[in-house]
Every structure is written in structure tokens, then in C-alpha cells.
């Protein structure tokens, strides 16, 4: 024990008198606490008296020390008393009794039973599903109002989003699709060359890209690029109370904020899916010509022969449906934003994840339907 930090003496009544000789501040409290704990452990007293007459400075860390000491002594049945000290100390001592450990609401927040948590999660998902249905209803209603002429089409906003989500996405969609076509053709070429079936690389790529990969690749890029942007844009507006302001001004939020985005993606999505299919084929063509001794003419002719109208239409339908889903779920997540910047981040993530899930889910449904009807 270091008497230069803490002087310890005891009285005949079993009182332990502890006299700190250093300031009760951030620099000293840890050393003091070690000394105090050691003293209390060695000679557990009935009463511990802290004499502050030699303490000339104190801050919140000093108060924290006294609170920790109080808790330690309470647990061991030691009564704590304070005496002495100048104005610097007494003004903090005044807070000591007022700073009681948190009770009340803090105790209510105990960990719930797993059944309750499971039920809570199920209920939340149910509410989310209800919101999705309700939101879908408002989107359909807004569309119906447009087609019945009750509302005007917002050309300016729609074209803005067509440019932002469609035209501006063309380079990345082209590049990814081209590389994907290139990779697939390379992988297939190794196998097909063994059977002298080089030309079938054109069949495989044209069918795969037109019916499946074109729309899917496009949708994945749109979900990451546009779905998240929609959620962040509307979410930030929500946080800044702009959505409330629009509502108060009498705007229909679905019509004003959501529909232009849905129309824009509905228009741009199928076109981008077409572009993706073309670029995928272009990638395959490069491999076919360079690595499989095919001519441009024979590759194109083979692709033309194998594709029929239903292949192209199913690709377009998928491209359209996926785009609508991405736009709708992005806007819905944006509107579900609560308060604070973290909520915007959460909803943006959720927009992408939900968008991807819905794309895959819808694709599975389309595949079954197209198979059943032999399209």
C-alpha cells in the first residue's frame, strides 16, 4: 500500500478511515481504487470513512470512483461515510446520493423467451407482408387512375428515372453480360469441342441469355443500382420529414414519389434485358470465332434458327416483371424508413436483399408457368 496516495488508519469503534492524498481525477482513480479495495479486503470494517480534507481537485471520474466504492461496500455490508473536503469535492458529493443506479424501465428490458421472440419475428413478417399487399394495392390503384385518365402521367420525373436507371446502367450491364457470355462460351467450348459440336455454343448462349440470363443479370444489377437508390432517396426524404410535408400539402405519395420510378424501370427493364442478351451473345461470338473456328455468319444463323418468338417474349416479360418488383420493393423499403440515418441504411440493404429474393422467387414461378403452358 502506498501512503503517498492513500493514508489508512482505524479507530477503536471499528471504523476504517481512508484519507486520499491525491486528486480524485481520471489520472488517479484507478490507482486509488486498487489501494482502497486492498485496504477494505485486508481489514473488512463495519464502517469506512472517507476523509477528503487533503483532496484539492475532483472530477466526474472521482465521483465514479465513489459510486463504485459505494456499490462494493454495499455488497459487503460496509457502511460508507464521507467527511471533509473543499468546495471542489463537496459539489460532487452532492450528486452522490442523487446518482442512484438505474431502476425501473431498465429492469423491464429482460431477455424474452425464445418462443416469444419467434412469435414476435413471425408477427413482424406478417405485418411486413400486409404492408406489401397494401402497397401493391395502392400501386395498382394509381396505375388504374392513370389509365382511366383521372391522373396525368408524370413524364418529366419518369424520363429522369429512365435516364438514371436505364441509360446510365447500359455500360455496366453491357460489360457484365459480355464477360458472362465470354466465360460461358469458354466453359462450354471445352466440352463441345470434344464432340465436334462447336456450333451448339450459339444455341446454348442464345437460349440461356434470351430466356434466363439476360433478364436475371439485368435485374440483379438494377436491384443493386436502382432499388437501393430508390430506398435511400425516399428514406432520406422520410427522415427529413419531406414525405410528411408532401402528405400535408395533399400529394398522394404513391403517385408522386413511387409511380414515376415504377414506370421508368418498367420501361427500361425489358430494354436492358434485350441489351444484356445481345451483349452476352456478342461475348459468345468472340469466343466462337477465335476459339471454336466458327464464322460470324454461322454463329448468327444458328442463334436465329434456334430462337423463336416465345423465347424473346418470355425474356421481355421477365425483364418487365423483375424491374417492376425491384422498383416497388425499393420504394416500399424507403417508405418504411423510421427515424435516423441508420434506418435509411437498414432499409437500403433490405431493398436489395428483398429485391434479389423476389427476382429469384418470381423467376421460379415464371419457369413453372412457361413450362406448363409450353411457352
Amino acid at each position: 500500500m502506498d501512503p503517498a496516495i492513500l493514508e489508512i488508519s482505524s479507530t477503536a469503534d471499528g471504523e476504517l478511515i481512508l484519507t486520499p492524498k491525491v486528486p480524485l481525477n481520471e489520472q488517479m482513480v484507478q490507482r486509488l481504487w486498487r489501494e482502497i479495495r486492498q485496504a477494505l479486503a485486508q481489514h473488512p470494517p463495519k464502517q469506512a470513512v472517507f476523509d477528503f480534507r487533503e483532496v484539492h481537485a475532483m472530477d466526474s471520474a472521482g465521483l465514479a470512483l465513489l459510486l463504485v466504492v459505494q456499490g462494493y461496500c454495499r455488497a459487503r455490508g460496509i457502511v460508507v461515510r464521507h467527511q471533509g473536503g473543499g468546495a471542489n469535492v463537496t459539489r460532487f458529493l452532492g450528486f452522490l446520493d442523487a446518482t442512484a443506479p438505474a431502476v425501473g424501465p431498465a429492469e423491464i428490458h429482460h431477455r424474452e423467451h425464445w418462443v416469444a421472440r419467434l412469435g414476435g419475428a413471425f408477427w413482424e413478417n406478417l405485418l411486413d407482408a400486409r404492408e406489401m399487399v397494401s402497397f401493391s394495392g395502392s400501386v395498382v390503384t394509381a396505375m388504374a387512375r392513370l389509365f382511366t385518365g383521372a391522373r396525368r402521367f408524370r413524364w418529366r420525373e419518369t424520363l429522369y428515372y429512365v435516364e438514371m436507371c436505364g441509360a446510365n446502367a447500359m455500360p455496366i450491364i453491357s460489360l457484365i453480360s459480355f464477360l458472362m457470355g465470354l466465360t460461358m462460351a469458354f466453359q462450354a467450348a471445352v466440352q463441345l469441342r470434344q464432340f465436334g459440336a462447336n456450333i451448339f455454343v450459339a444455341d446454348m448462349l442464345s437460349l440461356a441469355f434470351t430466356r434466363e440470363l439476360g433478364p436475371i443479370l439485368t435485374a440483379i444489377i438494377l436491384a443493386g443500382r436502382s432499388g437501393s437508390a430508390f430506398a435511400a432517396e425516399i428514406g432520406t426524404m422520410k427522415v427529413n420529414e419531406e414525405v410528411d410535408a408532401l402528405t400535408v400539402m395533399g400529394f398522394d405519395i404513391t403517385e408522386f414519389l413511387v409511380m414515376p420510378k415504377i414506370y421508368a424501370l418498367g420501361l427500361a427493364g425489358p430494354l436492358l434485358a434485350c441489351l444484356s442478351s445481345w451483349m452476352g451473345l456478342a461475348g459468345g461470338l468472340v469466343v466462337g470465332v477465335i476459339g471454336l473456328d466458327l464464322t460470324v455468319g454461322s454463329f448468327m444463323q444458328e442463334a436465329y434458327d434456334i430462337l423463336n418468338l416465345s423465347d424473346v417474349l418470355t425474356g421481355l416479360v421477365k425483364g418487365f416483371a423483375f424491374s417492376i418488383l425491384i422498383a416497388a420493393v425499393g420504394c416500399l423499403r424507403g417508405l418504411q424508413t423510421g427515424q435516423g440515418a441508420d434506418s435509411v441504411g437498414r432499409q437500403t440493404t433490405s431493398a436489395v436483399v428483398s429485391g434479389l429474393f423476389l427476382i429469384i422467387f418470381a423467376d421460379a414461378i415464371f419457369t413453372v408457368i412457361f413450362h406448363v403452358f409450353d411457352w
Binding site: 471520474a61 465521483l63 465514479a64
Partner: protein, 262 residues
């Protein structure tokens, strides 16, 4: 202006000194030739109409905005040159309550308040918890430590922001519109809190506000700024300014007369 020696910069009771300061954005001076001092333990309010540069001045005092001309000395540190080390030393002596509370939305109230201590102090976790409990108690939010900021009202968020601002026992507390957007009762509670903290801890407080009731309730002195005159138009005890100032802007401000400001 004559150069001032280092020793004469801050007298013992003087905690902030602003000397011949020009402030503004993009080369345009919004405030010119500001000269005033803030003394240890006082509550000083910075007043003026909207857009007169109150918040700009506050930003300069906490080192968020470089001055165009002059010197700013806070807690003995000359922050004029924006030297990072000097700014860090100066900022250890200050706490700032932003207008919205500026709590981090992803952390609970206790975590928000503990943040400066966890980052910059050597205190162990149990001591930090004790300090946080004490600070939350001081702003009357004892049982809200586990709440997220989004779950609180505007007034509570501001009080929590105040707890965070003063968690490291700053010598000076800066407030940016502490009662803006609050109902009269909550605003009065905030005023009372400022007075209590000033009386109990002796912390110097610089409050930017245009709420007349708050100004009269809390200020020892007030500094009035004017957009048209690009500077300070009056300094003094608000009651004295209210009754004795002959400046038309000061009179209009305290009498709530329209048409003079801006």
C-alpha cells in the same frame, strides 16, 4: 492591430478571447472585426436575428470554421491557425450541444454518452458506466440509458446530447439553439438545467439562441449580432440591454418589434 504577447492572451478569469475576427464563407465576411471575451463560470448568450451569423460564430469558437482574420483563443489555446494538435487540446476543454442533439442513431443513450470516454479516456468500463449514470442523472434521463435516440422526444434527445457534451467535464459548454423547437415547458426545463449545471459545476456556457425567454432566464451577459452591420451591436447583461440600450435593433429585439432585423 498590435501583436499581443503569448502571456497577455488570456487573463486568469478569461476563458475565451476573440480579437478582431472576421468570419464568413467563400471569401465573403458575414461578421467583421469581432472583439469580446468570455469569463470563466459565466453564461453568455449570442443573440441576433436569423442569418446574422450566430451559428457561424459558434462554429468558429469550437474550431469548426477557420477565421478569415483575427485571433480566437479558447481555454488558453490559440485555435486561429487550426493546428490539429492545438485544436485537439482546445476541444478537450469544450463540449458542444448541437441543435438536434446529434446523437448517433445506432447507439443507445448510454453508449452515446459513453462514446467520448471509451475513445479518449483510460477509465475502465465500470467507471465509465458510473460516469454515464451520473451524467444521465444530471440531465434527468436516469432510466433511459438503454433507449435508442429515435425512441425519445426532441427535448430528451437534446438533454442526452447535453449529457454527452459534458461527460468529460469540459470547462466550456457550447449550445446551439438549445431550446429551438421545444414546447415552453420543455424549453423552461432546459433553461433550468443549464442554470443548475452552471451553478453546481461552474462550467462556462456559451449559448446561441434567439429565444427571448431563455435569454432573460439564463444569461449573465449577452452579445447581440446584426447582419446589416456585420458585427456586434451590443454586449451586456440582457436586462440592462432591454431597459437601457438605445440601439434600435436591440430595442426591437427585446420588444419583439417587426421590421428592424434583416
Amino acid at each position: 492591430m498590435e501583436p499581443i504577447s503569448e502571456t497577455s492572451l488570456v487573463t486568469p478569469a478569461e476563458i475565451i478571447r476573440v480579437e478582431g475576427v472576421d468570419l464568413g464563407y467563400g471569401g465573403h465576411a458575414l461578421l467583421q472585426d469581432l472583439c469580446f471575451s468570455v469569463y470563466s463560470g459565466e453564461i453568455i448568450t449570442i443573440l441576433g436575428g436569423s442569418g446574422c451569423g450566430k451559428s457561424t460564430l459558434l462554429k468558429a469558437l469550437v474550431g469548426l470554421l477557420p477565421v478569415m482574420k483575427g485571433r480566437v483563443v479558447v481555454g488558453g489555446e490559440d485555435i486561429t491557425d487550426q493546428d490539429p494538435e492545438t485544436l485537439t487540446r482546445a476541444r478537450r476543454k469544450m463540449g458542444v450541444l448541437f441543435q438536434s442533439g446529434a446523437l448517433l442513431g445506432s447507439l443507445t443513450l448510454a453508449e452515446n454518452v459513453a462514446l467520448p470516454l471509451r475513445e479518449f479516456s483510460t477509465l475502465p468500463a465500470e467507471f465509465i458506466d458510473a460516469v454515464v449514470g451520473f451524467k444521465l442523472n444530471q440531465v434527468h434521463l436516469t432510466n433511459y440509458d438503454h433507449y435508442m435516440p429515435a425512441e425519445l422526444s426532441g427535448g430528451m434527445r437534446k438533454r442526452a446530447g447535453l449529457a454527452r457534451a459534458m461527460v468529460a467535464d469540459p470547462e466550456i459548454l457550447f449550445f446551439d439553439e438549445p431550446t429551438a423547437g421545444l414546447d415552453p415547458i420543455t424549453a423552461a426545463e432546459m433553461d433550468q438545467l443549464i442554470l443548475q449545471l452552471n451553478a453546481s459545476l461552474g462550467t462556462t456556457m456559451v449559448v446561441v439562441t434567439h429565444e427571448l425567454t431563455s435569454i432573460l432566464a439564463i444569461s449573465h451577459r449577452s452579445i447581440m449580432l446584426d447582419r446589416e452591420r456585420h458585427g456586434i451591436v451590443a454586449i451586456g447583461a440582457p436586462r440592462v440591454l432591454q431597459t437601457e440600450s438605445t440601439d434600435p435593433l436591440v430595442q426591437a429585439f427585446f420588444k419583439r418589434q417587426p421590421g428592424v432585423i434583416g
